[in-house]
């Protein structure tokens, strides 16, 4: 808690310091931001379960990213990156490479986690990493998105040093540890994926036998 407070203080300080030659862009909503937040919060049925409504809460990273339209001044970005790096947790056995075949499945699964009264996911619906939504991975899967960079030949290009393995794990666990306000979700931080599932995706990226590194 104390650490959080200290970081928040540091952030606020950074926010009030005159920006260094950075063209200031108006925060979304301008002078109506506060009204807009209230209006948004008032848009939901009262009988939404509490744990659904918590999904609207914003942590410091989300709030700051919104304020800067996902393009924070570098010093603020660095603060966020530190804050996020501190959240990364590892599997108990310390092994960061799992089973690439499991990772391949997780990379393709885009379901899970939908809530609401109209079209929620059935209970127990598997959640995946949905990597293909944004990234090219194995060559054989042509239905890939382009929001993120191509990860085809990820391991083949980078080799499988401990540093690269740890980078891949950390990036999936908390993408904002490297690039504040990136489009990529923080899969580990939100427990969207377990540490073990993340190791499977790391294997999918790194293993020489993985289709990511073939073709």
């Amino acid at each position: 808690m104390n650490l959080k407070f200290a970081l928040f203080g540091a952030l606020s300080l950074a926010l009030t310091t005159p920006a260094v030659a950075q063209k200031s862009v108006e925060a979304p909503g301008g002078k109506y931001a506060k009204d807009a937040e209230q209006m948004f919060r008032a848009s939901f049925r009262a009988d939404n379960p509490k744990y659904w409504m918590t999904r609207l809460d914003q942590d410091e990273t989300m709030k700051t990213c919104q304020q800067y339209r996902d393009n924070p001044p570098r010093p603020i970005g660095q603060k966020l990156e530190k804050l996020n790096a501190a959240t990364i947790r590892y599997p108990v056995d310390g092994k960061l490479i799992g089973d690439w075949k499991e990772g391949e499945k997780l990379a393709a699964v885009g379901t899970g986690g939908h809530i609401g009264f109209i079209q929620p996911d059935p209970p127990g619906r598997v959640r995946g990493g949905n990597c293909y939504a944004c990234h090219e991975l194995a060559k054989k899967e042509v239905a890939y998105g382009t929001i993120g960079p191509s990860l085809h030949h990820f391991g083949k290009i980078r080799g499988n040093s401990d540093e690269i393995i740890k980078y891949a794990y950390d990036k999936i666990y908390n993408s904002n540890a490297f690039t504040a306000c990136t489009n990529m979700p923080r899969f580990g931080l939100h427990s969207w994926l377990t540490p073990e599932q993340i190791t499977h995706i790391v294997a999918f990226l790194m293993d020489p036998e993985s289709p990511v590194n073939k073709d």
Binding site: P28, L56, M62, P185
Partner: protein, 271 residues
């Protein structure tokens, strides 16, 4: 009508041609998608709904046994030509910025005597259950086909709504850290094979807004803009806002303002 279809076919073909990075594989898939859409555009199922909406508009219904022909969608009672294209807007009689759907519901309540709950119970269709609102909005939308979206948001209340919509567009939250802008704030990107418009530009917002209401092939139903945006929230893994919620109207105002000047091609047909 034929001209309209032709236009949207050319539009889709062009969009596909200029859409993503031109890797051979990608463009082949895009070509197939374009052909599929072309085939469907020859007979948009939304045209049936438009005809149904036309009937509902003129029919005397509700406790007051009145039609909707005196409904003021912003251009005066009964004036529907171009009305959809200039919504949302501020209405003096309610003191609120309203979109086509909230205004339609307002008319059904005040002119026909329905309760709001009755009118909105079936605000979207399900297999085997049709929605009067979908039909009426499709009809009202078609009356703006070929006209320019015109939401300058010059009234202070409209300007405020547009800014509040912008706030929601960039607001990040939830277990995937999403905001609208994550997927819809840059040029030339795809999610899987689906091309994503940059809704912060006139062209991107225009391309997105001009074809609603739209028949959605994947859903087998016509979707209104409210339905579309509420589903965006679901896909972002957030709770879903209420039908006709101000936050949805604010997003619409922001998007229509950005899209202003774009020619409507509605009803549309989409994935």
């Amino acid at each position: 009508m034929v001209q309209r279809m032709l236009k949207s076919v050319v539009g889709i073909a062009l969009a596909c041609a200029f859409g993503g990075p031109a890797i051979a594989q990608d463009s082949k898939v895009a070509d197939e998608l374009a052909k599929y859409r072309e085939a469907l555009a020859d007979g948009n199922p939304a045209d049936l709904l438009e005809a149904k909406g036309e009937g509902l508009w003129a029919e005397k219904r509700g406790p007051k046994k009145a039609s909707l022909e005196q409904c003021d969608m912003g251009l005066g009672p009964g004036k529907l030509e171009g009305a959809y294209a200039q919504l949302p807007r501020y209405f003096k009689d309610t003191g609120k910025v309203m979109d086509v759907e909230s205004r339609l519901v307002h008319c059904m309540v005040t002119l026909q005597g329905f309760t709001q709950a009755e009118v909105t119970r079936q605000w979207f269709s399900k297999p085997g259950t049709e929605s009067d609102i979908e039909a009426l909005v499709t009809f009202i939308g078609a009356k703006s086909n070929g006209m320019k979206i015109n939401v300058p948001a010059t009234h202070p209340e409209e300007a405020k709504m547009a800014k509040m919509g912008e706030y929601i567009f960039y607001r990040r939250s939830g277990p995937q850290d999403f905001s609208c802008s994550i997927c819809h704030g840059q040029e030339g990107k795809r999610i899987r094979l689906q091309e994503l418009g940059n809704l912060t530009t006139k062209d991107g917002a225009g391309f997105a807004m001009k074809t609603w209401p739209s028949y959605r092939v994947s859903q087998g139903a016509v979707w209104t803009m409210q339905r579309r945006l509420i589903d965006c929230m679901r896909q972002a893994r957030w709770p879903e806002p209420n039908y006709l919620a101000d936050s949805i109207i604010a997003l619409e105002t922001y998007l229509q303002k950005t899209a202003t000047g774009t020619v409507m091609e509605t009803p549309g047909i989409k994935r």
